[in-house]
């Protein structure tokens, strides 16, 4: 492990690798600081730019976008109460009130340094747990992978934010449409309305449509509405002094954030909310949470940044994305011929280790860019929505075309953009659809392979201890809302 880790430094410390990190940090901050654009949108838009790039530089860039966007999301949340990322909304509870009290610099300092500590702890955890998880997963066969996909899907269904029914509907919709195309086992063509769909719905154009285009349509609703202005003059400097009083909260939130991030479907927003809630309960000043308590900012930011590495652990070791952005990363990996999962550590160890190295090397840069660029990140919130919408949609359409040099991919993006918008208006978020597109394929193919191995008997799956255990966990997860409701009653 140590030799692979050290060898990856040579790969990342190249012109391409460093350029990937710098570009990732800057683009991550750009999309993170701009309300409406999320890390998944930024990554989806940037994937087409990686087609001609070296695989390591491309993956490193996408991963740093993911982490930098989470760093940046808190800046507009604290300064103008306009969270750049959904998870940063929790940081605005206290951060914006601190800004109103004239403590914007302190709030930003706490946010950036807590993010730094949370991200650092979670990267260390990622290095140790991902390899261990991958080693354990080497013993997995189709039955275990099927069960793992079922656990992932049930967690997404139960843990997604908003209405559980609507999350389930989105998930099942994703599972339904992923069956379009040639059946991978029997070769039967399913629902082929066009021969262009023979390999199924193209993943990258679909996710660009679901994330980026749907957001553009929402921006069009806002028209030329001016974003909230900030008058805050911010003097921020890098110092650990401000976060020292909250060291326990930050440590606890970092571990909690990582653990929540590992769970598919939970993501940074839930990590942030849980850590904020726990910090509020355990803090002697719990009553002042929501009234400008810096501890609230520290808890939320350390957790949501730790969740980023958490979401990468199941992706790299098992091939199961922990979040929507991690699902987008699968698109980036597969374009470069890399299949996430335990074999990634066996066949291409340089990829996961380069990711770890890039995250570690990118961290100080994220802190520096964050602090120095505060005026620019605030200014970004003032960019007129029509300009953002036009640029995003143009890049989205170009990116969709570039994924296969075919206008059909553009049409897929356009159709999924419309579907995504119409579903979002009904509070059905597209993230479960994208996660289902990844896990649905994995679930069906492995179920059928397992049944072939077990002579068409379901008992074969249930007779294997790991798959039986995982399916039992899935049942418990699916029943948990009913059980908790009964207990509450």
């Amino acid at each position: 492990m140590i030799s692979s880790f050290l060898a990856s430094f040579d790969l990342v410390l190249t012109m391409n690798g460093l350029l990937g990190i710098v570009t990732g940090v800057v683009v991550g901050y750009l999309v993170g600081a701009m309300p409406g654009l999320t890390s998944s949108i930024g990554m989806a838009l940037l994937i087409p730019f990686t087609f001609e790039m070296d695989a390591i530089a491309a993956i490193v860039m996408l991963v740093t976008i993911y982490m930098a966007a989470d760093f940046a999301g808190a800046i507009p949340a604290i300064l103008v109460n306009a969270p750049g990322q959904p998870a940063a909304a929790v940081s605005a509870f206290d951060g914006f009130i601190m800004t109103q009290r004239g403590e914007a610099g302190k709030a930003l300092n706490i946010s950036i340094m807590s993010s730094f500590v949370g991200a650092l702890i979670s990267i260390v955890l990622l290095v140790f747990t991902a390899q261990a998880m991958a080693s354990a997963a080497l013993a997995f066969g189709p039955a275990e992978y099927f069960a793992l996909a079922v656990v992932g899907l049930s967690l997404i269904a139960v843990l997604s934010i908003g209405s559980a029914l609507k999350s389930l509907v989105a998930l099942v919709f994703g599972l339904t449409i992923v069956t379009i195309g040639i059946d991978p086992i029997s070769g039967t063509s399913r629902y082929l309305i066009s021969w262009a769909l023979i390999d199924g719905i193209p993943f990258l154009p679909a996710l660009i449509g679901l994330f980026a285009l749907s957001e553009v349509f929402l921006m069009i609703e806002q028209g030329n509405q001016k974003p909230p202005e900030t008058k805050a003059m911010v003097n921020s400097s890098i110092s650990l002094r401000n976060i020292w009083p909250y060291k326990r909260t930050i440590l606890r939130s970092s571990f909690l954030g990582y653990a929540v991030g590992v769970i598919p479907g939970a993501g940074a927003t839930i990590a942030s909310l849980i850590s904020y809630g726990v910090a509020k309960r355990l803090s002697p000043n719990g009553d002042s949470f929501g009234h400008g308590n810096p501890e609230g900012v520290a808890a939320s930011e350390s957790a949501n940044n730790a969740a980023v590495s958490g979401a990468l652990a199941p992706l790299l070791s098992l091939g199961v994305p922990g979040s929507a952005s991690a699902a987008v990363l699968i698109g980036g990996l597969t374009i470069h011929g890399l299949q996430p999962g335990p074999m990634l550590f066996a066949n291409n160890p340089e990829v996961p280790y380069s990711i770890f190295v890039a995250l570690l090397m990118g961290l100080p840069l994220m802190v520096i860019v964050g602090i120095i660029g505060v005026p620019l990140w605030v200014r970004l919130t003032q960019v007129p929505r029509p300009v953002v919408a036009s640029v995003v949609i143009s890049i989205a359409m170009l990116g969709a075309y570039a994924s296969a040099n075919n206008s059909f991919e553009m049409m897929v993006t356009a159709v999924f953009g419309v579907i995504g918008y119409l579903l979002r208006k009904a509070d059905i978020h597209p993230a479960p659809i994208v996660l289902a597109l990844v896990l649905g394929d994995m679930m069906e193919a492995n179920l059928r392979r397992a049944l072939i191995a077990g002579n068409e008997s379901v008992l074969y799956i249930l007779s294997k201890p790991i798959s039986a255990g995982l399916l039992f966990v899935a049942v418990l997860v699916l029943l948990s809302p009913l059980l908790s409701r009964k207990r509450a009653a």
Binding site: P48, T176, T188, I220, E221, K226
Partner: protein
Amino acid sequence: VDDGVIPKPRQDSAVTRQARLTFSGSIYDLIVFTSLAAVGCVFVYGALEFSDEDKLVGAGTVPMIAGGLLVILSVWGLAGAIVRRRDSSEFVVDRPFQVLFAMVLVLIFPPAMDLFGYYLTALFWVPAFAWIAGARSWITCLLVGSAVLVLAKFVFEMLLGTPLP
């Protein structure tokens, strides 16, 4: 967040006069869930065609289960929307015509590009989209259009080697 701390977005007078489509949220839920149930039905019906009777799980099994679940959950959502029809929140679409035009623009872009080529299409399409998105200065529309054309030529075609039609 406490009441009163969220700064209200400033709005131009032009924006406040924009059209707004409003109706009951439960009606929109009804439309969405009915559409999703219909999609589920199509998948279940299609799955019957390629079901393999010799196998426990054939090519049609997963689409049938997923489609069936989609129908069941959508019907559940539909029932919920009917029950809550009196106290559901309001469904609002601001600038509905612009959103609709934007959708039409996005959907016609691929065939238009095949017909007229990327650059000619984008030359008119991008400023038109910016206008629909709310840009009211022709300089902004022109600048956005030029930026996209430059991006397409230098980044996508020359740097990334994507041959644009």
